[in-house]
């Protein structure tokens, strides 16, 4: 079964609108509009505000965020490299930044269903000098600083469409609020708003809809298509303290899939753990959430989780294509693309936050210089690309450019190739490993297997998807219009595949047909990669992460 066969195309007619298209209520004009208040978007806003402040200029900066409050849609491991923070706030010390403890001990293990074999830590994964952190806390901290600098933060306002004029991005249109499932206005209906800006920075995170739309509309390609992994994460209050950051390979990820787990101590008794699996997995019945539930029973994890309580759950995809999947250019007339939306993630070191922030800062410098000259053209904004290309961002991505891709051939061959790449600093095997997009990878169907939980959840250590979604803080209005664009005539096999793929239980198979529980969606975007297309929905919908 090939998922691409049932996947509708990106709804460009909804995502790209001409300026002046009917349907908007208010219009607001800004100098710079940033879509997404994640680390990339906020670093961009802060750097712009710093630049303006230095020259006593008055810059009207607006940041749109679809979550109801900052951080609520942010999720990462995370172990953070502090360099972008230091660059953005040269007057502050590491102790001032929103990090938890510095990494002291680390361990990489190869798991079997019962054992854990410690491996020497691969050079790409050394985390000395880095800090365990919560991305939610980072985003809230950055947000406070942005607000103090006069940046306008509009939470609860998703950008639903790009507004374009000829080949230029002129701004965005936000999503309407207060519609029922049939599309009728409710009492508190609010029309979409048009935000028009000199430059629009797209910092939507993984698999951003407007970023994808812009790239497709402008015909910007990359050498390899972007590929993704799905991470499902939980935070636990534990009885037993953890003092080591742990990464594992092997079980429970099957050998024809790429993935591994992480377990980090936010506090000694507050543990973040998760499982990340590449979406090019071959077995149609693979269910990342279910694998995570099974994984928790392994002694390596159980020793910490036993007697503890799960306090949060969440999921998010990660762009894994690396160097060859970064678009040829990430700037255009009136627009730049930042962070995860541009694919600035290094899989072997599991890092993306400092790249996101740094890209935001480079974009800010290019945007500021352009605005001063009244020039927001592609030629002017290409300065952003030049800054990124000459920086550690592209240097790091280049060094590990084939590492993830090597695993397309499976765990053992991939492991061998990866080891060789590490030893030779990326030179061997050289060349580019071509990949196909995740949706075009054929999936193996096991006949007779019904979609259901692989492990019967006990509600204490292991949880059903429905219970998990509750723990993500998702309280989306049940009557909200369905935001997912489903292909026509989805056969039972594909429906079963979606049901397993989605960690939030959005898809169910009932009597052989696909049933969509759209309010469950936690915006991880796995569906957009492999199945029904994700589109922005009413502001404030989705999860409410607190410390993910």
């Amino acid at each position: 079964m090939i998922p691409a066969a049932y996947q509708p195309p990106l709804p460009l007619d909804r995502l790209v609108l001409p300026v002046g298209a009917p349907g908007a209520g208010d219009r607001m004009d800004l100098d710079v509009l940033i879509v997404g208040a994640g680390p990339a978007g906020l670093a961009c806003a802060i750097e712009l505000a710093h630049l303006a402040q230095r020259e006593r200029a008055d810059l009207n900066i607006g940041v749109l965020e679809k979550a109801e409050a900052l951080g609520e849609h942010s999720l990462s491991g995370a172990v953070v490299h502090p360099r972008a923070f230091r660059d953005l706030f040269p007057d502050l010390k590491d102790a001032d930044f929103p990090f938890h403890a510095p990494v002291q001990k680390e361990r990489v293990a190869l798991l079997t269903s019962r054992w854990a074999f410690t491996l020497p830590t691969p050079p790409t994964m050394h985390n000395a000098g880095h800090y365990v952190a919560s991305l939610c806390e980072i985003v809230r901290w950055l947000g406070e600083r942005a607000a103090a600098l006069g940046v306008n933060l509009f939470t609860g306002f998703p950008a639903a469409s790009l507004l374009v004029e000829e080949g230029r991005v002129a701004g965005v249109r936000t999503a309407a609020t207060g519609l029922d499932r049939e599309g009728r206005s409710l009492a508190n209906y609010m029309a979409p708003n048009d935000l028009i800006a000199g430059v629009t920075a797209l910092a939507e995170g993984t698999r951003g809809s407007l970023s994808q739309a812009w790239l497709e509309w402008q015909g910007v390609t990359s050498e390899n298509p972007q590929i993704f992994a799905l991470g499902v994460k939980e935070i636990w209050e534990t009885r037993r303290p953890l003092d080591t950051i742990v990464h594992t390979l092997g079980w429970p990820v099957p050998t024809d899939a790429f993935g591994g787990s992480f377990m980090y101590p936010l506090e000694p008794n507050l543990v973040a753990l998760g499982l990340v699996v590449g979406l090019d997995y071959r077995d149609a019945a693979l269910d990342v959430h279910a694998l995570l539930q099974r994984m928790k029973r392994h002694p390596l994890f159980l020793q910490y989780l036993e007697g503890g309580a799960m306090v949060e759950w969440g999921a998010k995809t990660i762009p894994e294509g690396g160097y060859y999947a970064v678009p040829a250019r990430r700037s255009g007339d009136g627009v730049v693309v930042l962070g995860d939306s541009a694919g600035f993630v290094d899989v072997p070191s599991l890092k993306g936050i400092h790249y996101a922030m740094q890209s935001g800062m480079f974009a800010a410098r290019a945007i500021y210089a352009g605005l001063k000259e009244g020039d927001a053209s592609a030629a002017r904004l290409a300065e952003y690309d030049r800054l990124v290309n000459a920086s550690f961002i592209m240097r790091d991505l280049y060094r590990t450019r084939n590492m993830r891709l090597a695993f397309k051939d499976g765990f053992y061959v991939g492991g061998l190739k990866a080891a060789l790449m590490t030893l030779t600093g990326g030179r061997f095997p050289g060349g580019k490993i071509a990949t196909e997009s995740d949706a075009t990878v054929a999936r193996r169907i096991t006949p007779g297997l019904r979609p259901g939980s692989v492990v019967t959840p006990d509600g204490r250590l292991t949880f059903s998807k429905v219970d998990a979604v509750f723990k993500s803080g998702n309280a989306t209005r049940d009557t909200i219009p369905i935001h997912l664009v489903v292909g026509e005539d989805v056969p039972a096999e594909a429906a079963g595949f979606y049901a397993r793929m989605c960690p939030a239980g959005v898809y169910e198979v009932a009597q052989g047909t696909l049933h969509v529980n759209a309010p469950n969606c936690v915006d991880c975007k796995a569906t957009d990669v492999l199945g029904p297309r994700w589109t922005p929905r009413e502001g404030g919908s989705g999860p409410k992460y607190k410390r993910m």
Binding site: G156, T174, N188, N193, L195, V311
Partner: protein
């Protein structure tokens, strides 16, 4: 119409309650704070009445810590004209002390209406509004679900057990609002921008200690698994007996 709306900054209703180390208060780490949902009905009603009258102003007043400025800005983003923060790090558990602080601020200010949400979703005290009314010697109607104001008089409806009370009162008056009175508007983008420029006065305040002392804040006992009474319809008679005699709910 000159309208005052008294609001409160409260923890989000989805907050997972953790007791702070003093055993008497909420551990606020990671807690998201919002405008008390019942106060949203009050702000909305104030805005509608002002819009209907064509002129006037809606002033929001909060008693709370410095962070309550953000809560006031939310109300300003909805459309209120100005805000006043009676700043105090400690909000007394004794509602009468809160009422005294508010009454002192409201006294002589000439408001036609003073609106409150019926209760705050953290303490469920359900009392500050009517207490303020007593201190100011103003008429008061609580838990209003329907309101009409005309010619210096008002008619309100409020739900009571098994019915709806229809109440008449003269202005100026104090009202507390309940769910169902209106559908609060979301702050518009322009409202959020405008809110930053609206006047917000901060007045440091020291509420009295009050006559209530918190001895402890505790988590309720875990709901115990009950018993399986039996199988099939044969167990029904026993279930009904237990519901009557043991649980006393029938």
């Amino acid at each position: 119409m000159k309208i005052a709306v008294c609001i409160k900054r409260v923890p989000d209703s989805e907050t997972r309650v953790k007791i702070a180390s003093d055993g008497k208060s909420l551990d606020e780490a990671g807690v998201k704070f919002i405008l008390n949902p019942y106060d949203e009905f009050a702000v909305e009603e104030g805005l509608r009445l002002k819009e209907k009258a064509g002129t006037g102003e809606v002033v929001v007043i909060a008693v709370g810590p410095a962070a309550a400025q953000e809560t006031i800005r939310t109300a300003l983003a909805m459309g209120a004209d100005r805000g006043v923060l009676l700043q105090s790090d400690r909000v007394p558990v004794d509602g009468l002390e809160v009422a005294k602080v508010l009454a002192a601020e409201l006294k002589g200010a000439g408001f036609d209406l003073i609106l409150f949400g019926k209760m705050a979703i953290d303490d469920y005290n359900h009392q500050v509004g009517p207490m303020v009314a007593e201190l100011l010697e103003l008429p008061c109607v609580t838990t209003v679900t329907h309101l009409e104001i005309a010619g210096g008089k008002g008619t309100a409806e409020r739900e009571i057990e098994g019915g709806v009370e229809v109440v008449e009162f003269p202005l100026p008056a104090v009202l507390t609002t309940d769910k169902g009175l209106n559908e609060p508007r979301y702050p518009a983008l322009k409202g959020i921008m405008a809110a930053k420029k609206k006047p917000l006065e901060i007045k440091p305040t020291a509420p009295g200690p009050g006559a209530l002392e918190i001895l402890s804040l505790t988590l309720p006992a875990e709901r115990q698994a009950g018993k399986i009474v039996g199988e099939g319809s044969a167990a029904v008679a026993e279930l009904v007996r237990l519901l009557r005699e043991e649980a006393k709910v029938l």
